[in-house]
Amino acid sequence: MALLTLSSPHTHGPNRTSRIMLTVALATLPGLAVMTWFFGFGSLINTVLAIITALASEALVLKLRKYPVSFFLKDNTALVTGLLLGLALPPLAPWWITVLATSFAIIFAKQIYGGMGNNPFNPAMVGYALVLISFPVQMTTNWVTSFQVSGSDVAGFTDALSIIFAGASSTADAFTGATPLDQYKYLISKETSDELLQRNTFNGWLNGGWEWVNLAFLAGGLFLMVRRIITWHIPVSMLAALGICSLILGWDEDLYTPLSLHLLSGATMLGAFFIATDPVSASTTPTGKLIYGAGIGILLYVIRTWGAYPDAVAFAVLLMNFAAPFIDAYTQPRSYGHSKPKRGLKPGEKS
């Protein structure tokens, strides 16, 4: 019988980094499952590949920096970075895009800045932006179009494997195309909204797969909120800003992408709940989180509508990452015992 007398503090720590990260990973699983259901095994293969690359790059750099490898690998942050990248990349992206994006994310965006907790930018989005800028063609045409979605001829496991690893483009062309956001943006100048929505990519409301993917990520995000891993501020302000912009500026569906497509297509929900809420690179004060989220929402709308890229979660998040330290400095809450909060820096004062 072992009766240990433990001294205080009697904390039980369910929210260690590794646990939080594992919960985040768990919360993405519905989204991953829905993506696999609608878009075939590509997402799953790329996600696994991204996770393996992330862990391998992390281990390599830790080894070079003479840090304990297994201790830092067990905090699961590299796992989540790989997972988020795998989910963000097109399902049938060739393997080298996944490997390049993930290793760049871990080595350059995370470890060069000092490793876990020191990166000013969201590593997954740095990796994503790298490959999006470098390989625009591969990144925008390797999405699975949804005309196969309702039938059984989504790319099967071996099809997906051969497309991703062997670059079997002749078979890939049958499955792939642009995302609904992309199509709507470039075709709306030629067709009316009603005509456009008849196209295969859209396939009617709630049939296209994208809505279900986003709803699944929304469910995962709500789970994270219930578990108090993330707070409501960033997702709510981001989605609200996106919605308000869309209602005020883009109310005409024959000119601009409609609100339903903004909210439930592309990476909106994944971005709102899993990417913008990154605890390291996001703003941390309650007011700051609201400003940060709203900034992402506005940038998302602006880049999607008037920018050159069809989706903009990565750019919006990275741009607001730049602003996060500044926002934090000016939104400090009042601390107990002080009548006024201390905000910003006086001239000549060091942070």
Binding site: F108, L130, I133, S134, F135, P136, Q138
Partner: protein, 237 residues
């Protein structure tokens, strides 16, 4: 200052005080035109011509120009040499001149050149100034070419492409394609890739310096054999 030997001057230019890696001067052309080896080499050679000429001239007039007007005088000299370099390139390597475009005239504003004129040539006799100019320019060009090679390999999967722009038609087959049907890696071709590549080169230099320092320290103070005492500072006699 005048006591510096020619060997030290050369070592400074090539390594210890390398204009690109240590002084971080002239970064604008360095980052903008190093998309390929031929561009980098072309700009490096033009810079070398200007730098050697300006160091020589500045050293010649160093006792005749008052301090108050020295910078305008130096800039005039540099601008003249840049014009010479520009006209030379137009005459002999017109296509390369077209490719490099505005960055040839912009050599005037390359702070590495004005920096060497003011910091070295205006205080030293002719021979050390010329040696300094040559070595600084070689140091600059080597970094340019390394960065160009890195970006050409990563960006286009080839190296030594388009060398005929600089070396005549016989150089057209110098191109080595490393990877067939390489998808252009735009990040390496665009300036952001130059920043990352530059950072990696500086890191590599610091790593080598670190190794050299450690080796030197180990050589200078060999571990005393036979001493078993710990917590003793300094030498045990």
């Amino acid at each position: 200052m005048a006591t510096k030997s020619l060997k030290d001057i050369s070592l400074d230019g090539l390594w210890k005080n390398n204009p690109a890696l240590v002084q971080l001067l002239g970064l604008c052309p360095l980052l903008a035109v190093t998309g390929s080896v031929v561009n980098a080499l072309g700009l490096g050679l033009a810079t070398m011509m200007v730098l050697v000429g300006s160091n020589l001239s500045v050293s010649l007039i160093r006792n005749h120009v008052s301090d108050a007007v020295r910078l305008p005088a130096f800039v005039m000299i540099i601008a003249s040499f840049v014009t010479v370099a520009e006209l030379t390139m137009q005459a002999f390597t017109y296509e390369l001149y077209e490719v490099l475009g505005i960055f040839i005239p912009l050599i005037v504003t390359n702070c590495a050149i004005l920096g060497r004129a003011d910091a070295f040539a205006s205080k030293n006799p002719i021979l050390p100034s010329v040696v300094d100019g040559v070595m600084m320019a070689i140091g600059f060009t080597v970094v340019l070419v390394l960065l160009g090679a890195l970006r050409e390999v990563l960006g286009q999967g080839q190296i030594f492409g388009n060398m005929e722009l600089l070396f005549g038609p016989s150089a057209a087959d110098w191109k080595i394609v490393l990877v067939e049907s390489y998808p252009d890696f735009l990040f390496a071709i665009l300036p952001p890739g130059a920043f990352v590549g530059m950072g990696l080169l500086i890191a590599l230099k610091n790593l080598i310096d670190d190794r050299i320092d450690k080796a030197a320290a180990a050589k200078a103070a060999p571990v005393e054999a036979g001493s078993k005492r710990v917590r003793v500072t300094g030498k045990i006699s």
